[in-house]
Amino acid sequence: MGTERKLENRRKFFQTSAALIGGTLMYSLIKPFEAIAQTKEEDISEDKAELPLWGMGVDLESCIGCGKCAEACKIENNVPKEPFYFRTWVEQYTVKNDGEVKIESPNGGIGGLKQSVPDEEIFKSFMVPKLCNHCTKAPCVQACPVGATFISPDGVVLVDETYCIGCSYCIQACPYGARYMNPITKVVDKCTFCYHRITKGLQPACVEVCPTDARIFGNLRDKKSDLVNFLQDNPTQVLKPHLNTHSRVFYNGLSSEVK
């Protein structure tokens, strides 16, 4: 009787395991097809609409370093007020007569940048607004271990706040220093081109408030957009082109001193 019961138990065990495995395999086989069946129609409609490809132009010849953009960005995106959290900021580069380069950005340029070097020592001086460059080959996206940062179909590098684990690998990976750890939400935050505004047809907050139109925002696929006109009229350059990030923020009048 003992052996019979053992055998029966073993048979039952094998039967239930086989059913479990079979069921799981079937489920996993069907699931991907389900997803395809559901998204097929949506994909077609999206192709028809032809998504925009967002980008920004920065005209360094117009920028006066008033810091309005950095201020507006903080208000619009609830960025902490402390002077070391920025989605966008303005730097003042000063090249002295002896060739030394001084880079200043007190409080990200909010409140207007002031020159600290006496005029007679200055060889040249200029302002450089900085922000996330929305790279086509973004190093931060590659560094993220959980897929919490990504390039959206319209070309904006976004952060999934509910999915970010706060490991800050992306902050280290970003060659432009465009990311910071938000002390309130404890996740990484960065410029989104004001994604909540541009998807509703508005301009990003920094572009909206710029008094000299030094920032030009638009759709790179639309040949009539302001941005495409700007790129056609001006010789532009991206920051750190040797890193091959293929960024979508284009600077006009960029000096070689800019890092």
Binding site: L20, S28, S62, C63, I64, K68, L158, T162, T212, D213
Partner: protein, 151 residues
């Protein structure tokens, strides 16, 4: 089939199946729709509150000021460049008018002398020579800078 091989094969299949099952359960909804990320996160990013409303919204109530400004030097400057934005302007503008102190420090954000500022951007003034100690709005109307007030 030798018993050992069968057991090995069986446990391998079991392991893979359990892995797939757990992965399917833990994977968030819409993950992998467009790539290695949660597609719904795009909607989350779209849903944020917007503060800056743009000049058109302001000029629905403040038509006179908007007209004055649009015909003068500050026409390229948006209302919200100087006046702080409101979430609901129709209520908040009454309670907390977005007043701006037209002093040297505020106007100096754009107009104070700085060699890094190119002259084509905005007129640059040395405030030590130009009316030291006075507030800009004592003479200038910020919406039409060259309509000088009489002292």
């Amino acid at each position: 089939m030798p018993k050992l091989i069968f057991r090995l094969f069986f446990s391998f299949v079991l392991f893979v199946s359990v892995f797939i099952l757990i992965q399917q359960q833990l994977k968030p909804e819409s993950f992998g729709k467009y790539g290695h990320y949660r597609a719904n996160s795009i909607d989350d990013n779209m849903m944020r509150t917007s503060y800056y409303k743009g000049e058109e919204k302001c000029s629905t109530c403040h038509e006179e000021v908007a007209d004055l400004k649009s015909n003068d030097l500050h026409s390229g400057v948006s209302c919200e460049s100087c006046h702080s934005p409101k979430i609901d302007a129709s209520i908040e503008c009454e309670v907390m008018p977005p007043k701006v102190e037209g002093n040297l420090e505020f106007c100096g954000q754009c107009h104070a002398m700085n060699l890094g500022r190119l002259k084509k951007g905005a007129p640059q003034l040395d405030f030590k020579e130009h009316k030291e100690g006075q507030n800009c709005i004592e003479c200038h109307n910020p919406h039409a800078p060259w309509e000088l007030k009489e002292n």
